[in-house]
């Protein structure tokens, strides 16, 4: 008896089959030498030993076997009348098979496309990160020399022809602000708004902020014969925010306003509403269409104009909107084509809460003792004279070594330490005192802006830093903060 399982393991077994399809495959002349190896497609033959497993045992059907000529057949096996006979019936299912195969192929192709898409997405993400890093690194390269140029322009401006130096300075400033925007955009793209932007909050003096803005833009506006007005319509003289980020926002908004205004004026007004500061930058420039307003905050979008104003990276408003959000605020715009625009930056008003003692200079200190380490006798005598007004035991040292000895002996509540001391430096003395008198609040005093800023980031050395030159008012305010 021919077992189907045996038959389907012998591709070279001679078959006595006369079927139209087989005749078509082999040709009449070869029908005598009919074997599976001659009938079947090579890919089927490759899997020949496993064919039996694919036969439906109930119906004896083997589905979609591909023949040598490419056609697909369903093969039905049945035991013949005699035990030596195995009936085989072929049914051409090519059309049906092709449809199924097409679907299968489509599915496979879709899977491949999906995989490729994921890979491409990953590659794109990596490329984007690389691009961001590249932009970031090249922008840093730009910023350093530009900052030097600006610094030297500041010096030159005081002693030479103001106009030309101001022009150089303003151009360099413009480049720096553009580079800063690109850097921020790269950082936000790579790390997101949350991690891409760090806020460093401190007190902002409204008058100083306006002065700074005026310094930056008065010349630029005058060059275009534009009026430039700044107006504080509040009685807020100081508040807390990130001064650098706020200035960056205002510089972007006012810079744009001047850029796109050919006549008339640009103004900055500060208002207050519902415990929010409202900075409004108004211009009498091109104005925006509804379509332009919709796109204006998109990265790299620039409003088309007939003037030469289309320079810039097209990132200023994107960055400003993101920064506004980071400052828990909002940036909005109102505009009318041909009339002008108002960009409104709204940020929460963080007031400076002064304690009673901070408001009253004659209020007593909680501290009972203070150590002053200062080698400049004029400063030493004056600070001592002023502080002796209060009920404080004052210990004065002229060197770090002397200061350490006094701190060990008296364990003072407060200490003022000059950085620049003969012998051991103020920073080293502070470290020693931290160990020997851990409850002493340390106020460092430095004439070096750079060093002061660096140390502000390291509270391990000092609890606060006071930059020289300082007034007695500055000193008392800072000491009050430490006198908790």
């Amino acid at each position: 008896m021919i077992e189907l399982s045996n038959f389907l393991k012998q591709p070279e077994l001679k078959l006595r089959i006369k079927d139209n399809i087989i005749v078509e495959v082999l040709g009449d002349e070869n029908i005598a030498d009919c074997r599976c190896s001659k009938l079947l497609n090579q890919s089927v033959l490759d899997n020949f030993p496993f064919l039996y497993d694919l036969v439906d045992q109930e119906t004896g059907r083997l589905e979609m076997v591909q023949l040598r000529d490419g056609r697909y057949v369903d093969v039905f096996f049945q035991q013949g009348d005699s035990e030596q006979e195995l009936l085989v019936l072929l049914r051409d299912v090519s059309r049906h098979a092709l449809r199924i195969l097409d679907k299968q192929q489509l599915r496979n192709e879709l899977d491949i496309a999906k995989t490729q898409l994921v890979q491409q997405q990953e590659a794109l993400k990596q490329a984007h990160q690389l691009q961001s890093r590249f932009i970031s690194s090249i922008s840093h390269e730009f910023r350093t020399p530009l900052t030097t140029i600006i610094g030297h322009c500041d010096l030159l401006e005081k002693q030479s022809e103001q106009g030309s130096v101001s022009a150089v300075r303003n151009s360099a400033f413009y480049l720096v602000s553009m580079v800063n925007n690109i850097l921020d955009y790269a950082s936000m793209s790579e790390k997101g708004l949350e991690e891409g932007v760090d806020l460093v909050k401190s007190t902002v003096q409204t008058a100083t902020l306006f002065e700074e803005i005026s310094d930056i833009f008065t010349y630029q506006a005058a060059k275009k014969n534009l009026g430039f007005n700044l107006s504080n319509q509040t009685d807020i003289d100081k508040f807390i925010t990130d001064p650098m980020r706020l200035t960056q926002c205002l510089v972007n908004l006012i810079g744009n306003a001047i850029k796109y205004t050919e006549q008339g004026q640009v103004s900055l007004t500060l208002g207050e509403e519902d415990e929010h500061l409202i900075f409004s930058v108004t211009d009498s420039g091109l104005g925006l269409t509804a379509e332009e307003i919709r796109k204006i905050f998109d990265p790299f979008y620039r409003v088309k104009s007939n003037s030469k104003a289309e320079y810039g990276a097209g990132l200023g408003l994107t960055i400003t909107q993101n920064l506004a959000e980071k400052l828990d605020g909002k940036l909005s715009v109102q505009s009318e084509k041909g009339v002008g625009s108002v960009f409104i930056l709204r940020i929460p008003l963080e007031r400076i809460m002064l304690s009673e003692a901070e408001q009253d200079p004659s209020a007593p200190f909680n501290a009972k003792s203070l150590l002053l380490i200062e080698d400049n006798s004029e400063i030493q005598m004056f600070v001592e004279a002023v502080l002796s007004e209060y009920d404080l035991a004052i210990h004065v040292a002229s060197s770090g070594e002397e200061g350490i000895a006094l701190a060990t002996e008296h364990q003072p509540d407060l200490a003022i330490i000059d950085f620049n001391l003969p012998g051991i430096s103020g920073i080293d003395a502070a470290q020693e005192i931290r160990q020997l008198s851990p409850n002493t609040k340390l106020l460092g005093s430095s004439a070096s802006i750079k060093l002061g800023k660096q140390l502000q980031s390291f509270p391990i050395f000092f609890d606060d830093i006071l930059s020289k030159p300082y007034t007695i008012g500055d000193l008392l305010t800072t000491l009050r903060k430490l006198d908790k």
């Binding site: 010096l155 004029e378 400063i379 004056f382 002023v386 000059d418 004439a447 020289k468």
Partner: protein
């Protein structure tokens, strides 16, 4: 402590401004004419002290200008004096002269 002591200190400081101006001119001359770190250090320490004390005693202009000169002098440890050093020196000198005039008038 008394307001009198602070006033006395302020007066003594005002009187010392003339000496400070002379010292500044002398140190600056050394700084320009002599080589090595010593004249740089002397001028640096002087402007550092002047900047700190002038702020406290109520001469903000002198303090600011002195700090500006100090910062430029600071760079002279590493490089040749920058061309703007002279201008900063002149500005500090003017501020000191102005402060002296205001006190005497």
């Amino acid at each position: 402590m008394s307001a009198g002591k602070i006033e006395a200190l302020k007066q003594a400081y005002a009187k010392s401004l003339t000496t400070k101006l002379a010292t500044l001119e002398q140190l600056y001359q050394h700084f320009i004419e002599q080589t090595g770190d010593e004249p740089v250090k002397a001028l640096h320490v002087f402007t550092h002290n002047l900047s700190g004390s002038a702020g406290l005693y109520g001469y903000p202009e002198v303090a600011t200008k002195s700090k500006a000169l100090m910062q430029i002098v600071e760079t002279s440890y590493e490089v040749e004096p920058l061309p703007e050093t002279q201008a900063e020196f002149n500005r500090l000198k003017d501020a000191l002269q102005q402060a002296i005039q205001e006190k005497t008038s």
